[in-house]
Amino acid sequence: MSTTDLKKGSAELLVLGLLEHQARHGYELTKLIELRSNGVLSFRAPSLYPLLYRLEARGWIAGRWVEKAGERRRRFYRITAEGQRTLEAQRKSWREFVAAVSSVAGVRHA
């Protein structure tokens, strides 16, 4: 897995993870990523949308417009069944990766 793949994967993982239990709109996602990573990660809206559209094109998430009285309509994204499977798979490989890194690092330090 190259660095690029890892990074892309991690961005996808982040978004899928944030949508796992709740549908959210795009701007909310950017704020949550920034907040939960203590500002280490910062997604700007224009960078996020391409990612969302990619995920939607793959059928991992689905977007729909939601209108509330007195507010502008917003597009909310939720995770699909396939997205859920992908999220599990990615979490697994991420854990394996982290474990591998830690064990290598552990050996080094020992």
Partner: protein, 885 residues
């Protein structure tokens, strides 16, 4: 708040998304932008927020936005086939637009970068313009590469052929499809139109001259073999410029007669514009040479041009040339010597003086261009560091590093194109300056059209491309690599990068040193040339050339009659203290060189007779020119009717052949078995240019061997004031005689070193440019380094370091780099020394004085360029510095 909806719509428009899908997209993005803008505006202010977001929008790959399936429309699928091309184009346009905006945001950076590249590319374009005209474009002859110049080989330094030689080569060498001879009429011919005599310069040529060059007449006809027969009438072919300017472009000129040297000559043809041979200033006319059957192998005034036959091999041609030389020896009882003829490419002969100079200049501008590029790379790196946070976040989140690199490359290409535009303006000035500096003696440069044509502009374009790649790739690669570390904030300075920057500055100093050394050597040569003793006192002497028409001055008596009256009137001119005649002047050259033998001094077996400059001078010549008498006497009235022909020789001739004895009273045999007796010895004079090898001279009294062409010299406190009286005197003596080539002896002397001055000036200008650019580079680097070490400096000052210590720390680093650059540059200059040697005079290419002075100069420049930033660092307030961290 800006109208994001509109801006986003405009950005998406080129993608051709189905209207409904597009409306969705625009709405969603607009919301995001509005929210984002509001937040950014709170943090940074409205203006900055707008700017930030516009950049984001510009740098978003809009194609990514349409991968989303548009559920209610099939349009994107339908549009798919045409997407590739549009993508590529719209990407490029986006990248360029982004580049332009990024540059507009940093106007001073952009101005410095564009000006730097403009100088580099402009200098390159100007020099290439000359090279293109002289070396790349063809000479104005058909298949110029087939043309050869035939010369004597191993023939004691002779350069030209006799008529007998020419005829032997013409008869023998079938490897030449065509061959012709031409003789330069050194003193020109006097044309009289409307009673106004005027001198023009050209050559006397054999029948096949124009056929050999492969250029037909534009009007009328060129010469044929009939025209070189002994009884043929004198005829003229005129250059286009001569016809237009001197004869007013009179129609029906062909077939008319004009007065030349007092006799009517028929004009048979006009050559097309732009045609010249052998030199532009010797190509006003061509007249037909008429050959009698030669009775001796003598009068070596014929230059020979030949065209190689198709399929002729050099070996076969040489064998035939050797056979022709054998024919001449057999026919004229030639001494048993192994001389022959040789053929060399005419292009090479014509370009021989200029090619190394042009290549040297090309190398010099290449150095300047490299230095300019290095400067801009350094600027870009410094800027990239400042933008690192922005760039790395974009790399971490945006799709590709490639895209980012492309955008940086686009930014560079915008700079380079800007530099290219500036360069065209600079090149225009540069070319004008070069042409103004080119000495008239330089071959070819004055004869070909030089300017910014399509060819040259193409080269400018190539430079722009080259700069884009050179300058763009390094920062793009560095940024892309560093950016890959992810969204985690990078430590802002990597050692690898600062090492790269150091290396660039070292390279810059090395390149500049090589250029400045080259220019320094040229200047030293110029200085040495200036110090050369011409052997005469050049100031306060006016010279002019006079040529008497043979029709009225056929006998010596007639010529002497004219010159006596001329000199008498000239000496009587107010302001003229002395006047004399001579058929040669220093350092413009003598028309005549002769072999000589000294009575009683045997030639070594198989050796050639020595060659001396031969001059016919009037009695007062030595006094007028201030040439000192070393032994014996000068010419005087006694020498008018004497049976023993007197001669005066130069000191060098006396030293070489009469070591220890007095040459006075000894006899010399000159060409044509003409015996003269030495009556005096005078100082050496540099007749053939200041940088010529040491030559010998023999003088004879003008009155005994008067020629119809001569120079008149007059010494005066106001040389320019005595020109008009001379014209009046000549007109009063003979209205048909022209006064030509009026110049002071100083001007002639300056003309002799013009080529050296040209090289020194041009190389000096380029070296100055290199020095300037290099000092800007050093300044930039040191400023950057001190800025990045501000904290360290602050701590040091806080811990008690003195300003002077800080200053020295900074300077030491800069000077260390400068020394390394100087050492590398000196090594490079030593490696290149051979390319310079032929252009130097009186100084070697390894001249330690020049190297030392230049090294000190560069060290000084480096110190000066580092001084300002170093002082800034030394004066920084530790409290402020530390607090800011």
């Amino acid at each position: 708040m800006p109208d994001w909806k509109n801006e986003i719509r405009a950005r998406l428009a080129p993608l051709g998304i189905a209207p409904e899908a597009e409306a969705d997209l625009v709405e969603e993005l607009t919301q995001a932008y509005e929210l984002e803008w509001a937040q950014a505006a709170r943090l940074y202010g409205a203006e900055e927020a707008t700017r930030l977001l516009r950049d984001q929008l510009a740098s978003t790959d809009v194609r990514d936005l349409v991968v989303r399936p548009a559920p209610r429309s099939a349009a994107p699928a339908a549009a798919a086939p045409s997407r590739g091309g549009r993508h590529w184009l719209s990407d490029l346009r986006d990248d360029l637009r982004f580049g332009v905006r990024a540059i507009r945001r940093a106007p001073s950076f952009a101005a410095v970068a564009i000006a730097t590249l403009g100088l580099g590319i402009g200098a390159t374009t100007a020099v290439y313009g000359v090279i293109d005209a002289v070396l790349v474009r063809s000479l104005p002859f058909a298949n110029a590469d087939q043309l050869m110049r035939v010369k004597p080989a191993q023939a004691g330094g002779r350069q030209n052929l006799s008529v007998a030689d020419f005829e032997a080569v013409r008869a023998r060498v079938s490897g030449f499809s065509s061959i012709a001879t031409y003789s330069i009429l050194e003193s020109g011919l006097t044309f009289t139109t409307d009673d106004q005599p005027e001198r023009a310069y050209g050559t006397s040529v054999s029948g096949d001259f124009f056929a050999t060059l492969g250029v037909p007449a534009m009007m009328g006809r060129a010469f044929t073999r009939q025209d070189e027969l002994p009884g043929a009438p004198a005829e003229l072919v005129l250059s286009y410029d001569f016809w237009k300017q001197k004869l007013g472009g009179a129609p029906g000129i062909v077939g008319r007669t004009i007065q030349v040297q007092g006799s009517p000559v028929t004009v048979v043809g006009i050559m097309p514009p732009g045609f010249w041979f052998p030199k532009g200033d010797l190509a006003e006319f061509w007249t037909n040479a008429r050959f009698d059957t030669p009775s001796c192998e003598c009068m070596f005034t014929n230059r020979v041009v030949a065209r190689l036959a198709t399929g002729a091999t050099p070996a076969r041609v040489q064998a035939q040339l050797d056979a022709a030389a054998g024919d001449v020896r057999a026919r004229f009882n030639g001494r048993d010597k192994k001389w022959s003829f040789s053929a060399t490419s005419m292009r090479q002969v014509l370009l021989t003086g200029i090619t190394p100079v042009l290549l040297l200049l090309m190398a010099a501008v290449a150095f300047v261009l490299l230095i300019a590029c290095v400067n801009v790379i350094n600027l870009m790196l410094a800027r990239a560091t400042a933008r690192e946070a922005e760039l790395s976040v974009r790399v971490a989140l945006g799709a590709s590093r490639g895209r980012l690199a492309r955008q940086l490359l686009a930014e560079t290409s915008v700079l380079a194109v800007g530099g290219g535009l500036v360069a065209v303006v600079i090149a225009r000035w540069g070319l004008a300056a070069i042409l103004a500096l080119v000495p008239s003696t330089t071959p070819v440069l004055h004869d070909v059209p030089i300017g910014l044509n399509g060819h040259v502009l193409l080269a400018t374009g190539a430079c722009v491309l080259l700069c884009t790649l050179l300058v763009g790739v390094v920062p793009a690669a560095v940024v892309a690599r560093n950016g890959a570390h992810g969204a985690i904030r990078l430590s802002s300075r990597s050692t690898a990068r600062s090492r790269l920057r150091d290396a660039l500055v070292v390279a810059e100093i090395a390149l500049a040193l090589m250029l400045v050394v080259g220019a320094g050597l040229m200047l030293r040569s110029l200085d040495k040339l200036r110090a050369v003793d011409t052997g005469v006192q050049t100031d306060g002497v006016m010279t002019a050339s006079i040529s008497l028409p043979n029709s009225r001055y056929g006998s010596s008596r007639q010529i002497i009659d004219f010159t006596d009256r001329l000199l008498t009137a000239r000496r009587a001119t107010p302001g003229v203290s002395a006047a004399a005649l001579s058929d040669g002047l220093p350092p413009a050259g003598v028309g005549d060189q002769q072999n000589f033998l000294i009575e009683g001094v045997a030639l070594p077996p198989g050796g050639w007779e020595p060659i001396g400059d031969h001059l016919d001078v009037s009695d007062d010549y030595f006094a007028t020119m201030h040439i000192p008498l070393r032994a014996g006497r000068l010419f005087d009235a006694r020498d008018r009717d004497t049976t023993t022909a007197p001669a005066i020789i130069s000191q060098r001739l006396a030293d070489r052949f009469f070591a220890g004895r007095s040459p006075l009273g000894h006899r010399l045999r000159l060409s044509g078995d003409h015996w003269v007796t030495v009556v005096g010895v005078v100082g050496n004079v540099a007749y053939e240019g200041l940088d010529s090898e040491e030559r010998l001279a023999v003088y004879e009294p003008f009155a005994l061997v008067p020629g119809s062409s001569f120079s008149i010299v007059a010494r005066s406190a106001d040389p320019n004031g005595v020109v008009a009286p001379l014209r009046r005197i000549v007109a009063s003596l003979d209205r048909g005689v022209a006064v030509a080539q009026v110049q002071t002896l100083d001007q002639l002397a300056r003309g002799s070193s013009a080529a050296n001055r040209f090289r020194a000036w041009l190389l000096g200008a380029l070296a100055g440019l290199a020095l300037l650019l290099a000092s800007v580079g050093i300044y930039g680097l040191v400023s950057f380094v001190t800025q990045s070490r501000t904290k360290e400096m602050g701590i040091r000052i806080a811990l008690g370091a003195q300003g002077g210590q800080i200053l020295w720390t900074v300077l030491r680093g800069a000077l260390g780099r400068a020394m390394l650059g100087i050492a590398l540059g000196a090594a490079g200059a030593l490696m290149l020394r051979h390319s310079l040697t032929s252009m130097l005079f009186g100084v070697t290419a390894t001249d330690p004085l020049t190297f030392g002075a230049v090294a000190l100069l560069l060290l000084g420049v480096a110190a000066a360029a580092s001084w300002l930033p170093a002082r800034r660092a030394a004066r920084s307030d530790p409290i402020l510095v530390l607090r800011s961290e």
